[in-house]
């Protein structure tokens, strides 16, 4: 599998609210290696039957951050609400795709220089309008409840680093597709379920219902986490290109974390640990409390500029996540 190609296709696609592009692309990839079934939301599940009746769920979320239109005025300016955590400070003059009757490009308004104030506070999304550039025709194309997403392109940086919107969490979706391909035509020791959940960004909602439906014996969530940069406290982040971040948290089952670490060491796979004092802010939080409780692990891909439209990841980190999880699957008892 060309992981870069998968990443490019997955991040170019839109997956928010009722827009299923990303789900359809991920589902198409998974269907090459697994039995695929779709949920009523954006979710998609791939299954590979294993040697024995025990199910390991590998989970990532398919949805992306964005906005939902709450008002369209007569001059073509939109008021929106956020879907997921958005850095309001970086919105002015940012370009977005507005998914109305057709998809049109818009721009977040920025304050003109002669009206700019020194010490601006960015705290209300309702103050930040989107210019649809359509004037009075906007209402013909855009309706309340339409979704808006970042419009940035996919770029390659130095080394093996890539820059795009929606690597959170499409990078992890690519991990699941890559893992499924590695078990194509082989019978893994246990049943594997590759679960792409919806609505993580608005409160870990999709994973709640998908893990209820799948009801696995154990689960590992794959997400992204903060990578290093100047002015970022090294204790608050992982390191780019230093491998998979294995989560250690009260939420994450310690035996799973320990086993992931042991396998990484044994197989010489690059890894780093990420210790969290409470919940993880990922789907692992909700999967682990499904039904009577599910032992859940967390593995993250280091990522820079989280929730911006130019998130950065390294392909080598994604490969190390795949490698560790492949070993884990082979070693499930």
């Amino acid at each position: 599998m060309d992981i870069k190609e998968i990443l490019k296709n997955l991040t170019a696609a839109v997956g928010i609210g009722n827009i299923r592009e990303a789900t359809d692309i991920a589902g198409e990839y998974l269907s090459r290696f697994c039995d695929v079934s779709y949920g009523s939301d954006l979710g998609v599940i791939g299954r590979i039957t294993g040697e024995r009746d025990y199910t390991l769920m590998l989970e990532a979320h398919i949805d992306q951050i964005g906005f939902i239109v709450t008002d369209v005025d007569d001059k073509g300016f939109l008021t929106v609400s956020t879907c997921g955590g958005i850095d309001l400070r970086a919105l002015p003059s940012r370009q977005v795709d507005i998914h109305g009757k057709k998809t049109v490009r818009g721009v977040f308004c920025s304050t003109p220089p002669h009206l700019s104030e020194e010490d601006v506070t960015f705290d209300k999304i309702s103050d930040m309008k989107i210019d649809s550039c359509l004037g009075e025709k906007a209402k013909d194309i855009i309706s309340l409840g339409d979704y808006v997403t970042f419009s940035s392109a996919f770029n390659e940086l130095s080394g093996d680093k890539l820059c795009s919107k929606s690597f959170d969490d499409r990078a992890a979706c690519a991990v699941l597709i890559e893992l499924a391909s590695r078990f194509e035509g082989k019978k893994p020791p246990v049943n594997l379920v590759f679960c792409l959940s919806d609505m993580e960004e608005i409160g870990l909602r999709g994973a709640k219902t998908s893990s209820f439906r799948i009801s696995p014996d154990e689960a590992i969530a794959i997400d992204v986490s903060f990578a290093d940069g100047p002015d970022i406290n090294p204790e608050d982040c992982g390191k780019m290109c230093k491998g998979a971040m294995i989560g250690i948290s009260p939420v994450a089952d310690r035996a799973i974390s320990d086993k992931l670490i042991r396998l990484a060491k044994e197989k010489n796979i690059p890894y780093q640990t990420e210790v969290m004092g409470k919940s993880t802010g990922t789907d692992a939080d909700i999967i682990s409390v499904t039904k009577s409780g599910i032992r859940t692990g967390l593995v993250s891909i280091p990522l820079r500029n989280m929730h911006s439209d130019c998130e950065i990841i390294s392909v080598s980190d994604i490969i190390s996540v795949c490698d560790i999880l492949e070993e884990y699957i082979k070693a499930v008892e």
Binding site: F77, R105, C109
Partner: protein
Amino acid sequence: MIELLKKLCLIDGTSGGEDLVRDFILKEISDFCETSVDPLGNIIAVKKGKRTPKRKIMLDAHMDEVGLIISSITEGGFLRFKTLGGINTSALMFRSVRINGKINGVISGKPIHLTHGEESKKLPKADSLYIDIGAASKEEAEGMVRLGDRAVCISDFTECGENIISKALDDRVGCAILIKLIKEYNEYDFTAVFSVQEEIGLRGARVAAYSVNPDAAIIIEGTTAADISGVGDDKTVCNLGRGAVVSFMDRATVYDREYYLAAINSGMSVQPKRAVTGGNNSGAVHLSREGVRTVSLSVPCRYIHSASSVASLRDITSVFEVCKYMIDYIANDK
């Protein structure tokens, strides 16, 4: 016009680094006029018409766009920068940039999840931002970028009905209009200047005006339109779709009253610039030698100096038409 404008906008050319824009323009116009390039890099293009006007007329549009200059490289391989021209910090945060027209990078800073309290609502200081090109070390970065190299925020060129979204509309709209004039307007002689270094202090136009030594000048620009949601009618300065913007005064120039009135009363699609803000090459040109009678015609642009400026094709056409009218007017003026 739109294809020409698209090509011009997608070329990267910051102040003092206009080379690729200049090469493109020279190729476009050299069959239609006499061209020369002065020591600072301005293009001076002499276009012969059917008649020579009594007054020598100079037209100006600037080639440079706002951008960044790489000022240092950190031990970790990140690039620190200074701005070339006025760019708001919010227009820099988490933007994709292109360095030297080929190297991709991202202007980065602390992600909001790792900020605390008020810090998460305030713009960071511009000097806390840096460009991440993916280099893992200073050595790797130094192999790709030299100090003094240029970066611009990248953007698509998008048509939305009558409007365009792009970087560099200020002032590639002016360049496109001048190119079209050189190709299509044949009544009177004029000298077109495609100037360098406007954004860092009107530097190219100053020396070009000296060399050309005109009696009158028409400056073609992009100017701030604040006709956006939440801004009262008295503060919009000018509006998209209402035609060429004619200035009576800005922070750099008090314009020739007669020429201002001639343009405003032309009966064409024009609007006054309804505020005394900003400035353009007129500031340098009207004070050249013993003084030059100057008029400024601008295309209204929303979100100017960002990579997502918005302008209307209708206004660009209006500026083109009014510019022809003003050449005729100045040529025939007693």
